[in-house]
């Protein structure tokens, strides 16, 4: 079975986000970009499936700007076998919407016929938490979202999901879409030799048109603003003072 892993290039999670003064968006010029943290976990899980003999090939795919090549090289260095880059824009500030991403991924699935697709639960830039579920709809496959445990056999995937009340375990028919949560595994670092090797692994370039997908956004971004800042608080000197203050403001 092939495993397909969509990986998104996003602002590094350690970078402090700055909203552009003209309200047109978040400033991504000369900002450190990395693989979406959830997608690292998805890549790791796919590689582990291969190592366990449950998957034959791991294919990483990214949709966005040309620079997402770097993100794919990271996936290849971690252990993915090959990569597909779908260049959908040349503007680093343009985010391709989950619906369009899902349609492109559906096109990739039609060509590659994977048994399993592992996406991240959520991209840390747009915080949509949607692409995997949308892809499951478009393929008509079952979905196991927010996975913190995954067990795969010939025709089913058993997924333990992190939900509001605790944990839920379900079985889904393969082929299936699984979206991964933070506690599924700890992704490995790519070793230097593997980074070198990754440079020689195949990386195909495509466009949305190759899959017949129109990426025109459905949601017009009217504006982007900074969240309201909290007014500065105070440091109290003791527990007694804390209790007094809390009583003063009626918090206890």
């Amino acid at each position: 079975m092939k495993v397909l892993v969509p990986v998104k290039r996003v602002i590094d999670y350690n970078v402090k986000v700055r909203v552009k003064a003209d309200g047109s968006g978040v400033d991504l010029t000369n900002v450190k970009m990395s693989m979406n943290p959830f997608d690292e976990i998805a890549v790791e899980e796919a590689i582990r499936l291969k190592e366990a003999g449950k998957a034959e090939e791991v294919i990483a795919v990214s949709i966005g700007v040309k620079q997402a090549q770097e993100t794919l090289r990271t996936a290849l260095a971690m252990g993915a076998d090959r990569a597909i880059l779908v260049v959908a824009t040349d503007d680093v500030h343009e985010d391709i919407e989950p619906l369009a991403v899902a349609k492109i991924l559906k096109g990739v699935i039609d060509e590659e016929q994977p048994g399993l697709v592992l996406t991240g639960k959520q991209a840390i830039d747009n915080d949509m938490n949607a692409t995997g579920q949308m892809l499951a709809a478009l393929t008509g496959w079952g979905q196991g979202t927010f996975a913190s445990e995954l067990d795969v056999d010939d025709d089913t995937a058993t997924v333990t999901r992190e939900v509001d009340g605790g944990l839920q375990t379900i079985k889904i028919k393969i082929p299936a879409i699984v979206t991964v949560d933070l506690r599924l595994n700890e992704p490995r670092y790519a070793s230097l030799p593997n980074i070198m090797k990754a440079k020689k692994k195949p990386l195909d370039e495509k466009t949305p048109a190759d899959y017949g997908v129109d990426t025109t956004p459905r949601l017009e971004i009217v504006g982007t603003t900074e969240p309201g800042a909290r007014s500065a608080g105070i440091i109290v000197g003791s527990v007694d003072e804390l209790v007094d203050k809390l009583k003063e403001v009626g918090a206890v």
Binding site: K16, V17, V19, G25, V26, E97, P98, L99, A102, Q122, I124, D125, D127, M128, N129, A130, Q133, M134, A136, A137, L138, G142, Q143, G144, T145, E162, V163, D164, G165, L167, Q168, T169, I170, K171, I172, K173, L182, R183, P217, R218, L219, E220, I221, V222, G223, T224, T225, P227, R230, G233, I234, I235, V239, D240, L242, V243, K245, L246, A251, V252
Partner: protein, 307 residues
Amino acid sequence: MTVLLLAEVTDGALNTDATAKAMSAAKMLGDVVILCAGATAKDAADEAATLGASKVLLAEDDVLGHRLAESTADLIVSLAGDYDHIVAPATTGAKNVMPRVAALLDVMVISDASAVFDADTFERPIYAGNAIQTVKSSDAKKVITFRTSTFEPVKASESSAIESVAVPASSSLSEWVEDKVAVSDRPELTSAGVVVSGGRGVGSEDDFKLIEGLADKLGAAVGASRAAVDSGYAPNDWQVGQTGKVVAPDLYVAVGISGAIQHLAGMKDSKVIVAINKDEEAPIFQVADFGLVADLFDAVPELTEKL
């Protein structure tokens, strides 16, 4: 305009708080019809009928048990023709289902909306709440989840009529195996007036009892940072943050939590924030109304006693 609101029904029971909060957002868009779906959902529908909907739809079938995404999405799509907006509170249950519904209808989903401007225009936090985006949808139908922490629950009103609806046959793509749900007498995290959260600084599952003791003294829900959950000090459903629960209680007490942006994303709209941390440089102090630089193993027992 008519709005279909997917009620939060778990094991036959209505999560009234989450549903009532989504209801106040939904009412800004037009007349609201509430959908209660589950293997059993009659009790939930009775309760939902007090939330001011023009009617309540009741869909009961075994295939809808455990909120499996495939069957629930098929049900909603079968009803979608009558509605301009299909909405739900942004719970894990709805976040599982609603994007699937949106893609089946060939529309984008608007996740975690925090304000309604008009029928097409919504606000939503992005980048862990470090930016707020206003989006205007050009889709024929809008599929939206509402961030519950930013809406007040509607008050109970006169009872609306309940109508049963047909449930499409199961696609049998998925099957429920088990739930691991901790039962607790404490208030639920996303509806609690007070939340006490512990982080990696608490150091062990055993010592998390200190946090729970303070919470119980305050009648509070217990939360945790990702690091505390990852380390096994606290269960996953206590995680507060960008990828956990978003809370906005009257009082939030952060103990042994450094204040990473991903944590702040889940609690910085709380009314009063208290931070207890031994590192005076910890970023949590930048959002705290009252900061106490202290060892939590001294401060928490003392605070629990003096409250």
